[in-house]
């Protein structure tokens, strides 16, 4: 993580070497879900606005849509394995590594900085580790996740907005 520090107790930085796969699958097709889980080596979360951690992070995006975050180097192999396992299950697996940038924001003031641009209630009982949500930050759409450690959040942003978002975060952290 490349870091930048600011007036507030918060550090933000880009997570390097992250790869992303978008998975669409009918959650009622148990066989397909099982097949995906076998390849992933972890459960596919079926509870809304949660993510599963393991070798990868599997974020729930919608009733039939997930975002898999993994090492950039593993994406192609994982995509192929999933595609093979799900062949004939009418699922859609797409490499979207070029489309996202993962940022991490850590520190005692992380929640305050996010609250300047995000309307979600990030108070720990409401948005605890393991929760994620597609939401707004400043004037862009992001995927926000509460990390396992306290005061640490992952922001997955559309690549084209990253420069704006990083400038916004730097600005927000200075106040």
């Amino acid at each position: 993580m490349s870091e930048s520090t600011s007036r507030r107790h918060v550090e933000t930085g880009v997570l390097e070497n992250r790869g992303f796969l978008n998975l669409r699958l009918d959650p009622h097709k148990e066989k397909a879900v099982k097949a995906a889980e076998q390849i992933l080596g972890q459960a596919v979360p079926l509870v809304s606005n949660t993510y599963g951690s393991g070798e990868h992070r599997v974020y729930w995006l919608g009733p039939d849509e997930w975002l898999i975050e993994t090492d950039a180097g593993d994406v192609v192999a994982l995509e192929n394995e999933l595609a093979m396992a799900l062949a004939g299950s009418s699922a859609a697996i797409n490499d979207v590594s070029g489309g996202y940038v993962a940022l991490r924001i850590v520190g005692a003031d992380a929640r305050t900085v996010l609250a300047k641009g995000c309307t979600l209630d990030l108070h720990p009982p409401e948005f605890r580790p393991g929760r994620c949500a597609r939401t707004r930050l400043a004037r862009t759409t992001i995927l926000l996740a509460a990390d396992g450690e306290p005061d640490s959040y992952t922001i997955i942003a559309a690549r084209s907005f990253t420069d704006y978002l990083r400038r916004w975060l730097a600005h927000a952290a200075e106040k």
Binding site: D26, S97, G98, G99, S160, D163, Y164
Partner: protein, 1009 residues
């Protein structure tokens, strides 16, 4: 220095005497202390006459002590920092503060506009409407003169140098108002485990407690406040927002608060100026409204003279600011609360000449205490007039029969320099009403009380009609406890502290004191001080036919000032009810709207200014474009390179060079902003057949096709190339601007209309970057880069797609063309795109490759007559209008098909896409130019001139050497060879020839090689 503050009491108050502060008003220097407001410091300095009134230019002084202040509205600061429209009662004093009043020329004392006061008889309600109507064409002259003489300050011309921000927050209980009731409510809620936000407009918590001499729990009120605030500060989830004005109560228990973050001290701005004001956007589960009440003035002749003040304001200045606003006072009241002010004045050392109480029976316990101090109390009497122009000199007192229509005559006169008035109290029900809550009129208390709530709110304390301090504390405790219980938490048990409560006599209805002369002639009984609205104005409005309170408000300007009628509204409604012969609840109130107090534009804008005004979307190649100095074109939020100038080229030279380079060799363009959607699933063909107009099912795997989609109205909605990657797998592209909308459109059909179709859509817009290579050398360039698939015409024909490895990187290659040349599009993961682009530019050097921008792309496609959705189309253009009948399948149904059969869509004279050539071979028609018909005797003979279309795209074509234009012309396809006329500003209409839109290589031979 201190001697200058002649009205400052020797001790007491919440001011810091060790911190004297210098300030100026209208250029004159004064001193005050930290803890003062501008208003309290002015009173301390004996400045009575401060401002001139809005319309009649009457002399005015400070009347209130808070947000209700109507008279003294100042401009603080100078230059870019100047802030207009602030009531002096809300301006915290700081060292070096510079303030100006809005009016008073040449000076406040000798305002030339005061002549208006003499004409007050004709300057009644509706004066401007009636006078400046005729002749109508003169209004523009009237207006500039009228505007110059009005207003509450001057907006600074320079941009605001301060920083602002927004903050979102959630809480269980939001308490608006930190007085006795609010503090109790917040305390019980926070200690019961609720997440609490407590906001108060004042600089410190305490509300009315800061302005009284009472004890709470056997200790001075200040000690009790400090204890509670400290206790709240220890709670883990309690946010305290002093200087936080709750501005609005919106739907779904969403509230906004403007927090003043600085105390007005000068700041080092530097690179990151500190936040001056913060807008809190709060979602609350429960809301407790404890904003107290506003004291009402009384309506009598010359009730606006400097030195007439609200009784509660007088007490506030004495207790909170240690300022004595007068030496010899008269108190005029219809209720008991003003007796406290009389006692405060007496204790502070002022002489109280009399308490004039309209009630024949007088007051309760407090009246006895006043008499014990030797203060004369006159019962059943009213103040009917005030003498003194720039300062109260005395008051006339008359007997009061209870009938405000009867003329009265004065029976006594008292010399005084201060008149403290109290017409009773109105709970601050603004937020309750904004939230949709109901109001009930209390005949006993003579005020509107909050009743049924529409959202999750409750009122407490004086805002709930409680009068004594003890009752307010108990009510706050009750509201806090009930809120906690409604949240499902267990409220902890807290005792309300002991506080004094005096037995009070009931208030009397006194909305207007009779005048000595016929009331209509008395124009000096002010209801709304800020707008100079008088009792006579309200009567005039009724006489002229206005009945509804909202109409009377608009006709008389009652309640329209920056104070939003906090002072005068209820009195105005009561007078209106009286004139109409109705009850007050029958007349009702006007609508309470956000914002509660004025707010800065900067606060509303927050951090979305300057470089953060709007998000900028950058392609993966942005860094390269910037490095070579390409000017950017803003397309939606995308910044796309417009053109790539070399050696100081201007737009036209650069575009001409770029166009010719593409036509003659090869050019590369960043086309990454196109929308890209992966569509797959067993029903994907069925789905796309319904969306697109052409026969999707007939496309072979590996084929590309140009497709359009229509709205249900049959109009072209979006277009793009689609490719069939597999039997049940498609890749769709959309326009740059349509990307998000098209995906939503497709999803909405899938999710709501055709859920039985098994199709999955995934946006790949951000994942893939697209490099377009166009020109006769594009194939050679790909070969040079090293491509693992054959690129010849037979193996990789026009309108096909191949997965390939190019220059060592995995790509999708499309043989598509938006320029009419042999062309390819390289789709590559955005994380690899910059690397690929550099390789393309390096390998292309041999072919003199150029990068081209959006302008060249537009010229190249216009030369071919290719449309751009949103430029050639505007939501009223069908594919038939565009000459795209060949795209409309006859064998299947698709969205919008039925609409194309509507009679209007079949009209032969619909506007159709054509090309235009300027007859002079020189003029590049401005886009949007209207096209008009030639008539028998010349084009401008008939009026209105017959119009037949407009220009949609227009460029100079470097390849053809003359201007070209695309246009929509009525019945245009049948008119090739005709001349129509382009209406050009400042010129004779120019004849233009209607031609085919395909100007260049009309047979399409160049792209298919």
């Amino acid at each position: 220095m201190q001697a200058a503050q002649a009205n400052r009491l020797r001790e007491g108050g919440r001011i810091d005497r060790s911190r004297p502060l210098k300030f100026s008003l209208n250029g004159k220097a004064y001193t005050g202390f930290a803890g003062d407001t501008l208003a309290s410091a002015l009173i301390a300095n004996g400045v009575g006459l401060v401002e001139r009134s809005f319309k009649l230019r009457r002399p005015r002084g400070i009347f209130g002590s808070g947000a209700e202040e109507p008279n003294v509205i100042v401009q603080v600061g100078e230059g870019a920092e100047a802030q207009p429209g602030l009531p002096a009662t809300r301006v915290e004093l700081r060292d070096g503060l510079i303030a100006h009043t809005a009016r008073g020329w040449p000076s406040v004392r000798f305002d030339i506009g005061a002549i208006n006061d003499l004409f007050g008889r004709i300057l009644g309600a509706g004066f401007y409407y009636k006078t400046f109507m005729y002749p109508r064409s003169w209004w523009k002259y009237y207006e500039s003169a009228i505007r110059r003489s009005t207003g509450f300050g001057r907006a600074p011309a320079a941009s605001d140098p301060d920083a602002y921000e927004h903050r979102n927050a959630h809480c269980d209980v939001l308490v608006a108002g930190g007085g006795p009731a609010g503090l109790m409510a917040a305390l019980v809620a926070a200690k019961s485990g609720a997440r609490v936000i407590l906001a108060d407009d004042g600089t410190e918590f305490g509300g009315s407690l800061l302005a009284c001499g009472e004890d709470v729990a056997g200790a001075p009120a200040a000690d009790w406040i400090a204890g509670i605030v400290a206790e709240l500060g220890e709670q883990p989830d309690c946010v305290l927002l002093p200087r936080g004005a709750v501005l609005g109560y919106h739907d779904h228990d969403f509230l906004t608060i403007a927090e003043r973050c600085d105390s007005g001290e000068p700041v080092e701005r530097g690179l990151h100026p500190p936040v001056r004001e913060r807008l809190w956007r709060i979602r609350a589960k429960r809301v407790i409204l404890a904003q107290g009440g506003f004291e009402r003035p009384l309506a009598f002749c010359n009730n606006d003279r400097p030195g007439v003040m609200l009784a509660s304001a007088v007490s506030t200045y004495i207790h909170r600011y240690a300022v004595l606003p007068g030496r010899r006072a008269v108190v005029f009241t219809n209720n008991d609360s003003a007796y406290r002010t009389a006692l405060d004045l007496a204790v502070a050392g002022a002489a109280v000449a009399a308490i004039v109480d309209s009630r024949p029976g007088g007051g309760g316990e407090l009246a006895i205490r006043a008499r014990d101090l030797g203060i004369p109390v006159l019962q059943g009497r009213v103040v009917c007039d005030v003498t003194g122009r720039h300062r109260v000199k005395g008051v006339s007192v008359a007997e009061w029969s209870g009938d405000s229509w009867e003329n009265i005559s004065k029976t006594a006169h008292f010399d005084c320099d201060l008149l403290a008035v109290s017409g009773g109290w109105s709970p601050a029900v603004h937020l309750h009403s904004q939230a949709g809550g109901q109001l009930d009129w209390s005949e006993a208390q003579l005020c509107f009380l909050p009743s049924r709530a529409r959202q999750c709110h409750d009122s407490a304390g004086a805002g709930n009609g409680k009068q004594s301090l003890g009752d307010c504390l108990i009510d706050g405790l009750r509201a806090g406890t009930e809120a906690v219980a409604k949240l499902g938490l267990t409220p902890i048990a807290i005792e309300a502290p002991d506080a004094g409560s005096a037995r009070e006599a009931p208030i009397e209805a006194l909305w207007r004191v009779p005048a000595e002369k016929e009331a209509d002639r008395c124009l000096k009984q002010f209801i709304d001080f800020q707008n100079d609205t008088t009792v006579a104005d309200i009567r005039l409005a009724v006489r002229e036919g206005y009945r509804n309170v909202e109409h009377v408000k608009r006709y008389t300007a009652l309640g329209f000032g920056t104070d939003q009628g906090k002072l005068g509204n209820i009195n105005g409604m009561a007078v209106l009810a009286d004139v109409l012969g109705k009850t007050i609840p029958e007349v009702g109130t006007t609508t309470f709207r956000p914002v509660y107090t004025p707010v800065r534009f900067g606060t509303v804008a927050g951090e979305s200014v300057g470089a953060l005004y709007d998000p900028v979307r950058q392609t993966a190649l942005h860094e390269w474009h910037e490095a070579v100095g390409a000017p950017m074109e803003v397309v939606g939020q995308w910044h796309r390179p417009w053109y790539f100038p070399r050696d100081g080229e201007d737009l036209h030279t650069a575009v001409a060079r770029e166009c010719l380079a593409v036509r003659n060799s090869v050019g590369a363009m960043d086309a990454s902003t196109l929308g890209k959607i992966d569509a797959r699933g067993p029903d994907v063909v069925k789905f796309l057949e319904r969306i697109y107009t052409h026969n999707v099912g007939r496309m072979k795997v590996g084929r590309c096709a140009y497709g359009i989609m229509l709205g249900e109205d049959g109009m072209v909605m979006d277009d793009g190339v689609m490719a069939r990657l597999g039997e049940n797998h498609f890749y769709l592209t959309t326009t740059t601007g349509g990307a998000a909308g098209v995906l939503n459109w497709l999803e909405s059909w899938l999710q709501t209309e055709w859920p039985e179709l098994e199709v999955y859509l995934t946006s790949l817009t951000e994942h893939f970057s697209t490099i377009a290579l166009a020109g006769p050398n594009s194939r050679n360039l790909l070969e040079k880069l090293g491509c693992d698939i054959p690129l010849d015409r037979e193996s990789f024909p026009f309108l096909t797609v191949r997965a390939a490895n190019l220059a060592g990187m995995p790509v999708q290659l499309f043989r598509v063309s938006f320029s009419g040349e042999l062309a390819f599009e390289i789709n590559i993961g955005s994380h690899l795109a910059l690397q690929m682009w550099r390789k393309v530019m390096d390998a292309g050097r041999e072919f003199d490759i150029i990068a081209y921008g959006t302008e060249t792309m537009h010229v190249l496609r216009a030369e071919k007559g290719f449309i751009i959705v949103g430029q050639e189309t505007d939501g009223s253009v069908t594919p038939v209008d565009l000459g795209m009948n060949w795209l409309l399948s006859k064998e299947k149904d698709f969205l919008g098909k039925r609409s194309l059969a509507r009679p209007d869509c079949l009209r032969e004279d619909r506007k159709q896409l054509v090309g235009l050539l300027s007859s002079d071979q020189r003029t590049v028609l401005p886009e949007g130019t209207q096209l008009i018909e030639q008539t028998a005797c010349g084009v401008l003979e008939t009026r209105p001139v017959p119009m037949c279309g407009h220009v949609t795209s227009s460029y100079f074509s470097p390849s053809l050497g003359h201007p070209i234009a695309l246009a929509l012309v009525a019945g245009g396809r049948a008119r090739k060879g005709d001349n129509v006329f382009a209406a050009l500003p400042g010129r004779e209409p120019l004849p233009v020839e209607v031609v085919s839109p395909a100007f260049y290589d009309p047979k399409g031979e160049r792209q298919n090689v």
